[in-house]
């Protein structure tokens, strides 16, 4: 636990320093830039709420990737599953008109269903034809991207709009806001509790983790590998779909082009730096969201383009993951040395 903490903090510091060097190189003032970045994402209640709100899709897709990677299936289809989930929630919200108490759970269920369908397609291809989910999910991402683009350009297009987008969903489907605080955070926390419980307290979760670490051992130990594979794919797809649904219900309340942005890929990165841990995913998800939410403020004040954050994020991932490996090696070495010395004495 302490080791993780050290490598995380060290990695972030090193990455920020690298970022500062790039900024100096381009003639920006790094201290001013980082100051603007963090004051626009954490300095006060309003920015903090924005950061929280934006962290939800990152964390949910991060959960999806974490659970998938830790349980075996290489589900890289979060971007596609997010889009399909968002589309399902949007279409539901356009045609279903019920009081909010019913509308919101129904839309959430639709988002879960959409994501699960899309990952289920990849899972079935694996089950029936043993097609590698690594490639199928990537291809399904592209297909989902084009499919949703078509859906919002033709069948669900809002007449008279200048760019492809759908009409707004029923007001009852909007997630309630308390001031600046959006309740999508509560949905995310609830999801976390459920996922954590399944993953760390139920037999199913134990079997998934076991399969992820050693699938042969798990099979010999009596786990139903195929069933677990299916369950993990469906659940991780549903999580990514939920992320998409919440983006629609909390944000623009409609499906606009480019809605998914980079959420899902960033979520995959969050899972990677968090080493597929659920708590780590929340922490790094918040951190990435801090960077992203502050990016616009940074651009406003110091003229550093907000795209810089995307570069910084991937640098952080590489540095932390590489640093973790090096730290492991170094700690092992020093332990061996210490043992050797003790034995010699």
């Amino acid at each position: 636990m302490r080791k993780k903490f050290i490598s995380g903090i060290l990695g972030i510091v090193v990455a920020l320093v690298l970022g500062a060097i790039i900024m100096l190189f381009q003639g920006y003032n790094p201290i001013e830039t980082y100051g603007a970045l963090f004051s626009y994402s954490l300095g006060g209640w309003y920015p903090f709420c924005t950061t929280l709100r934006n962290s939800v899709p990152l964390i949910l897709t991060g959960f999806s990737a974490s659970i998938a990677f830790a349980s075996g299936p290489v589900n890289l289809g979060q971007p596609g599953q997010l889009l399909i989930g968002a589309l399902f929630a949007t279409v539901g919200g356009m045609y279903i008109h019920l009081p909010a108490v019913l509308e919101i759970p129904i839309l959430i269920a639709l988002a879960l269903l959409g994501g699960a369908l899309w990952s289920g397609a990849a899972a079935l291809m694996h089950k029936w034809f043993s097609m590698d989910e690594f490639i199928t999910t990537l291809m399904l991402n592209m297909i989902a991207d084009l499919l949703t683009y078509w859906a919002i350009s033709y069948p669900f297009f809002e007449k008279g709009a200048n760019s492809p987008l759908t009409p707004q969903i029923d007001k009852a489907g909007w997630l309630p806001e308390f001031g600046e605080f959006n309740t999508n955070v509560l949905v995310m926390l609830l999801t976390f509790v459920v996922v954590w419980f399944i993953y760390s307290r139920l037999t199913a979760g134990y079997e998934w983790r076991l399969t992820g670490q050693n699938s042969i051992f798990a099979r010999l130990g009596g786990c139903n590998i195929d069933k677990n594979y299916m369950a993990v794919m469906l659940i991780t797809g549903a999580l990514a779909g939920l992320a998409g649904g919440l983006v629609v219900m909390a944000g623009p309340h409609r499906f606009v082009k480019g809605l998914g942005a980079n959420y899902a890929w960033d979520g995959v990165m969050v899972a990677m730096v968090a080493n597929n841990g659920l708590f780590g995913t929340i922490l790094y998800g918040l951190f990435f969201s801090t960077l992203q939410s502050g990016a616009l403020g940074m651009e406003l004040i110091t003229a550093v383009p907000s795209e810089f954050i995307q570069v910084l994020q991937s640098v952080i991932v590489l540095v932390i993951v590489a640093g973790r490996g090096l730290l492991d090696i170094w700690m092992d070495k020093s332990m061996i040395k210490r043992k050797a010395r003790e034995r010699a004495a």
């Binding site: 381009q26 290489v74 890289l76 291809m125 034809f129 043993s130 097609m131 590698d132 490639i135 199928t136 990537l138 291809m139 991402n141 592209m142 297909i143 084009l146 499919l147 683009y149 078509w150 350009s153 033709y154 980079n262 890929w265 960033d266 995959v268 990165m269 990677m272 383009p305 795209e307 810089f308 954050i309 995307q310 570069v311 994020q313 991937s314 640098v315 991932v317 590489l318 993951v321 590489a322 490996g325 090096l326």
Partner: protein, 296 residues
């Protein structure tokens, strides 16, 4: 007849970037690297191709810059995955996202635009007319008049086949993937073989990127590699790295690309753009069925 020639030419131009990147992937595949960074290398190459071509008003500089840009991406991959032994999968994903972020950032910093940059100052890679052959009906309009990089690609296929299967380096390359420990024991450093394979992959992905932004079209747009690197990866995996197999598969994908353009008269273009990805899924299906039969 014109449709036929158009389809063939569309197939060739669609196949070229995929084929170049996939041939790069062949080297890393045989060297035992799970290289998923072709997408990022290609995108880096495409950006720097436009940069070089625009600033020096010459396409050879464009190609040179493309190669350097892709090599820079390859260098990052080498530093992390080969030298620091970071997980190849994570390195690859992070590198691809780094490529998207960095090219978008540089697009804004250098050209002051968002989305796409096109300018008459970007000199495209020329098409080559072969004398005599170009006068032959039908065949002439296919064999001649292609982009310079198409002919380069053909040469690269031959070189790849020769290097991988007929040279000492090729033997070591395959040994690095087949049994790294025995290669190390025989006195050849696996890591240096892997580094060279990544360098070659970088060069070829750079060419692929240059073809995208200076041949296929004459501009750079955000994320313009649009999954072609992933399709290349699929092509490499589908035929277990065999260069001739890769050529065939790439041509097939190129064909679906051209077919998609043809279908645009009947279907919304979102559906026609899906065709190459669906083709990838279908070929993966046949591959998996075949593989299953072999193991059963």
């Amino acid at each position: 007849m014109n449709i036929f020639i158009g389809l063939i030419n569309g197939m060739i131009s669609g196949a070229t970037p995929i084929l170049l990147a996939a041939l790069g992937g062949t080297f890393t595949y045989y060297a035992g690297i799970f290289n998923i960074a072709m997408e990022g290398m290609m995108l880096g190459g495409a950006f720097f191709a436009v940069l070089g071509s625009y600033y020096f008003h010459s396409w050879p500089m464009g190609i040179l810059f493309a190669i350097l840009g892709a090599l820079f991406m390859a260098l990052i991959f080498i530093v992390f995955s080969v030298i620091l032994k970071t997980d190849e999968f994570i390195t690859g994903i992070a590198l691809n996202l780094f490529a998207v972020g960095a090219t978008t950032y540089l697009l804004r910093q250098i050209f002051k635009v968002k989305g796409a940059f096109s300018d008459p100052g970007i000199i495209p890679i020329p098409k080559v007319d072969i004398p005599l052959i170009k006068d032959i009906p039908v065949v002439g309009s296919i064999l001649s008049g292609q982009n310079l990089l198409v002919y380069v690609t053909f040469v690269v296929i031959l070189i790849t086949v020769y290097v991988v299967f007929k040279t000492r380096f090729g033997l070591r390359l395959r040994a690095a993937g087949y049994n790294a420990a025995s290669l190390d024991t025989s006195g050849v450093r696996t890591s240096s073989v892997r580094i060279w394979s990544l360098v070659i992959c970088g060069v070829l992905c750079g060419l692929a990127g240059a073809y995208l932004s200076l041949g296929y079209v004459n501009l750079f747009s955000e994320n313009m590699s649009a999954g072609r690197g992933w399709i290349s990866l699929a092509a490499v995996i589908l035929v277990n790295g065999n260069p001739w197999g890769i050529t065939l598969i790439s041509l097939l994908f190129g064909f679906t690309d051209g077919l998609g353009l043809l279908l645009q008269q009947y279907l919304p273009n979102q559906f026609t753009s899906m065709v190459p990805y669906i083709a990838t899924l279908i070929s993966l299906y046949f591959y998996s069925i075949q593989k299953r039969k072999k193991t059963a």
